[in-house]
Symmetry: D2
Subunit: 386 residues, 4 copies
């Protein structure tokens, strides 16, 4: 029988939410707008703070630079603090400037590599102002056609560029290096898999860690295996939550395959990654057609539900079944916690913590969405690129 998780264990869940999830996003075919969409980073942080206010799960907001560029970083930091949240990871961006058409940190031209490195140094400066620990590096670098550039030379340039950035990190800062199977590059991607990210991080040093994103894998990839492996190697720096049926769909975490989310979370817990400062949990999603703040609330609740289930696994009974090679029993014990409906438990837990039992209903009833739809008139709605 599934166990009942301790409230103290549930308390250890903290998820960083991305500023860009509150702006508009879409596909190459269309970006649809929504009334009330933020026009600037301050409004994005305000929206993000709503998620934390109603769920207690999202104490930090990740920023994307230069999308979230502001004149006064201290003001943004104070704005966040006033709303009960902190600024988190800084995401660099080397894919929206004409210079990066053929690469950034891996570009054949040293001038453009230098520019891309400098952009990261600027991010590090910002991190000092925002109090952020992590610099997240995700590259769009790659090629579209066989032969277009040397795969090997680009690896060597990548290593050199990363080194130039890494050595500027402050003592308390980290670089977290993301990988992605494909898109926007369609023949080869310069950091396509965890092995590549790991090899670079291992060469860089202790403060370089791998970022794992749910949607950045080949079809059928066993993601919880990678979680287990990177925890074992001491190199899991962050986990980006979202979900997908096909490619990097960036759907709400848990929406496509809640059992996969549960398995991932179970592996995070089993390997010591849950509640560890080393492993930053982050949402990285797009709300192309659904309401954005509610989409984010649902997302953190989905993670919380998976955590509550995974904390309920009867690990003692499971270990015994595994020792006996009792396949069906071990599987049943593992499934049992997933099958259990933890929603009543979580409602009670929230209530005890002074949070609304049903955060989604509480938010929808708060009138916030109507308010921003009315107030945020004029200006340009934020989206990828601003």
């Amino acid at each position: 029988m599934a166990l009942t998780p301790q409230y103290a264990d549930l308390d250890r869940l903290a998820i960083e939410v991305p500023s860009w999830a509150y702006g508009n996003s879409g596909t190459r075919f269309r970006v649809f707008g929504t009334p009330g969409t933020p026009r600037d980073p301050f409004e994005k942080v305000s929206d993000a703070a709503q998620v934390h206010a109603h769920t207690g799960l999202a104490p930090r907001v990740a920023l994307h630079y230069p999308w979230d560029a502001v004149d006064d970083w201290e003001a943004l930091r104070a704005h966040a603090q006033d709303l009960g949240v902190a600024l988190g990871t800084i995401n660099s961006n080397t894919f929206q400037d004409e210079d990066y058409k053929f690469g950034s940190l891996t570009h054949p031209d040293p001038r453009i590599r230098r520019k891309a490195v400098d952009h990261h140094l600027e991010c590090i400066e910002i991190m000092h102002r925002t109090g952020s620990r992590d610099l997240k590096v995700w590259l769009a670098d790659g090629t579209n056609y066989p032969g277009q550039d040397s795969i090997r030379a680009r690896q060597d340039r990548l290593a050199e560029s990363l080194h130039a950035i890494y050595e500027h990190l402050g003592e308390e800062q980290r670089m977290v290096l993301e990988y992605k199977f494909f898109e926007p590059a369609f023949y080869h991607t310069d950091i396509p898999d965890w092995g590549t990210s790991y090899a670079h991080c291992a060469a860089l040093g202790e403060r370089a860690m791998v970022v794992l994103d749910t949607g950045h894998h080949a079809p059928g990839t066993n993601i919880e295996f990678i979680v287990a492996q990177l925890l074992r190697l001491g190199k899991l720096g962050a986990f980006d939550f979202n979900s997908r049926f096909y490619a990097d769909d960036d759907l709400i975490v848990g929406a496509a395959d809640p059992y996969q989310l549960y398995r991932i979370v179970a592996e995070l817990i089993a390997g010591g990654g849950y509640g560890s400062p080393d492993v930053q949990l982050v949402l990285d999603q797009c709300h192309n057609i659904e309401a954005k703040i509610p989409g984010q609330i649902k997302s953190v609740l989905n993670v919380q539900e998976a955590v509550a289930k995974a904390l309920s696994i009867d690990t003692e009974a499971l270990d015994a079944a595994r020792r006996d090679c009792d396949v069906l029993l071990a599987n049943e014990i593992f499934e049992d916690a997933f099958r259990t409906d933890v929603r009543p438990l979580l409602a009670e837990y929230r209530s005890q913590r002074g949070l609304p039992e049903d955060p989604m209903r509480a938010f929808l009833a708060s009138g916030y969405l109507d308010r921003i739809a009315e107030e945020r008139v004029g200006g340009t709605q934020a989206s990828w690129g601003a």
Copy 2:
């Protein structure tokens, strides 16, 4: 030994090129620009005509409406004729209006379905003016989340909407119905596979035909099988050429897997689809980072090369090996034609037809690219959406 194809057989190759390939395109991450990119449909047609002028392979230009909306269709038609090409298929567009956020021909709201049907009727009107035979219907319709809408109800609405369009087709006009595995919808797509397109076309009538696009399939799908099957069922209306390594990458046809292109073309020939008026051959690609007109020239040349090879198959020897179940011999005969370098033959063929032996070099030497880069200053470069 591979045979030598007849020039008369090579003459039967005609490929429609898409107006939108000459505008800018990209991914959700970035659309990069290029000097000289057309600002309007007239300039797109001018560029397209360059492809035909140098290769003799691209006598028609497909249009996308309303991207290619002009005040005077007759003028556009005349402009094309002056440049030696004709206007071809009209592609409808029901994915770039806020109303279509949750669907078009399948939308739950009858008002929006009506609007989407009316858009197609408008396309049919335009076809009368442009002299186009085919109305190509590709829908972005689908859902992102399980439960979001009824899969079944949407099929029924789709059938009804398609019927409303179909009955307005002129006697000489056709509807060609495209399918796509995923994107931009990420949970379910309303026409995800050839079976669905086929079932609808069969219900509509003789002038409804299936469109097959190289990149619109699940990983590993045997596309030449679908070609063979649709030809057998008399329902292959068009084939959209491009190539991909992952999803709908829309790379230059033949760039990812030239052997697959050869197999597809071989099946087109074997099943009577090559040179048949029933089967429209079309490019449908994006030149995100490479030069656009040269990208198109390379594309039609790649198809021509595949055709020349497939026409070289020693079908008599192949049939004998197949009858004997001689796996290796049959495979070798089939591969032999692919392995043969037909480029010298094609150079000679072109020369005999009054075309440059090396169309790419001829075009690059023509100065056209420099000229448009100089002349096309100001205005807004065309891209998806304009």
Copy 3:
């Protein structure tokens, strides 16, 4: 809130279990044995009857011919009846005879096609004796190398062979035609997708129906869409339950993705396929490393759980949310029933129906496994091929 399903609706669930699941199975690398494995069809039926005795869900046993060949079919039928079950679908087998190395119903050699057709006529004869309604045709036919045989010619031969079989069906009999993406053929499969099976069934007539197997699709295929489409077209004849992470893994149904199973069952219910005599529900799995009878018990219970959840969907609320295009609400209503733990309800339901509340524990406690391990000594354990 999820509704409570009616017991009468739960009563309509009946799943056919496959005789071959009780024999040994494995991969090309190894078939492992288990003490107590049946040596003949009578023992297989005995094991299958245990599943029904403890769950009330598996009233029929599908047979595979000639794997399950017996001298006296009436005796096998009576044996089944004595144990409270009936004989079900007859599965033909044209992949384990040296003659079928290069195909069966599609073979280039008419003699071998004739042999394969005759095998099916023999199956029809057996169906009369066993009282089976359905002849299930799954073909291993295909090719491993491009060019090996004509894809098109094989389709034509297939159509002819199927016709020759179909016309021998009795009035009350049906042919159900399975498709499979790949394996054992590795270049092309003669019936690779639902479209191909559908086209052939439509050409054959009303008593030819498509079989959908969970594991027989390209990666990422939306299976519930196909369920909805085939129900709409009136051509879903059977659904083969199993699950997979990669290819045709044939794992226990629901083990890989319980949410997918739920979505499939929800679509069966929504489209009128649940409880319909037209749609035969079948297990088709391999218990390579886990205990077989318990594996089957778990499987039918997993389906029952998915059915109970899907019957709990608040369809009225769902329809309203869909009409409003409220993506998150519709998705939440759909997920709500999945999230609900229906195990207590099902325990009560079973108790009321005179069945053990926990069928798995009841079976394991019954001593049956020890008994067969002791009794079934000597002889050859059944596996694929016997």
Copy 4:
């Protein structure tokens, strides 16, 4: 224009052929037999020697133990030498004993892990007798169901077991560690990707190297990228040639995608892996339905053709185009060598080296196949397991 490769560069190609390719193989559905199939390792080596005799490309034969167990290893070695070939890599086998049902080097039970380690020590002993340098470790270890065993604990056991083997290697011996995406395990595989193999090899030491097999990847994986990466990291120990359309189809190398083979070989050459003693080139294929010795001859010829093409790349022009970011030109230069028909050149090269210009025709004309079909009567044909 493609360059002409030097004969001396072509001379550096040497491919190890696998003893088991000459025995029968198949799928879980059926293993078909062929007249003349070897009954013992001596006959397998005789067949393998035919490949080298006609092509000059296959000087070594890889063995699988205990499939190829003989009483007198020196006799087998002498038999090989008499026929002009040498014995090569020893492949261990820990997947065909009942004890390994739930794992070998990763099994929860230390007794079974010990047994699996001891098997490898026995292989090392044999290597001393056969003069083999490489111990190839491919594991079937993994689980079929979530929760079945601890992914993490299995990694730790794996590390320990590998270490116990590694420390017994002779000074001149190496361990090459293969990875595989899935099959025969269907939920998780203990060494599923290059990253995992690399992490273990890096921990073991200099004489542990990664094995890359064409068919052991997720769909869409860019294999040449992994070649480039492992060469860069100094850890590519061997490359197993075969091809596939879907999973681990084990078709003839180059049969599914000759352009992929070319890209792989080009990356081997570019990264210094071609002709290097560090990188063992091996065939690892199954000839399920085609003739085996001819299948092997075709395979080594396909690799030779790819090598000849890749050696023809105009690297100087390519580098210049890459520096200029001229996507289309770089791609065209890269494709040019692939498009060139090198068969005449290779015929001449063979002739100059005293080999038949057309090795396949020469072998088929030699009468060898008829002779073995006549002579090898009685006994048990070798297949996986013997």
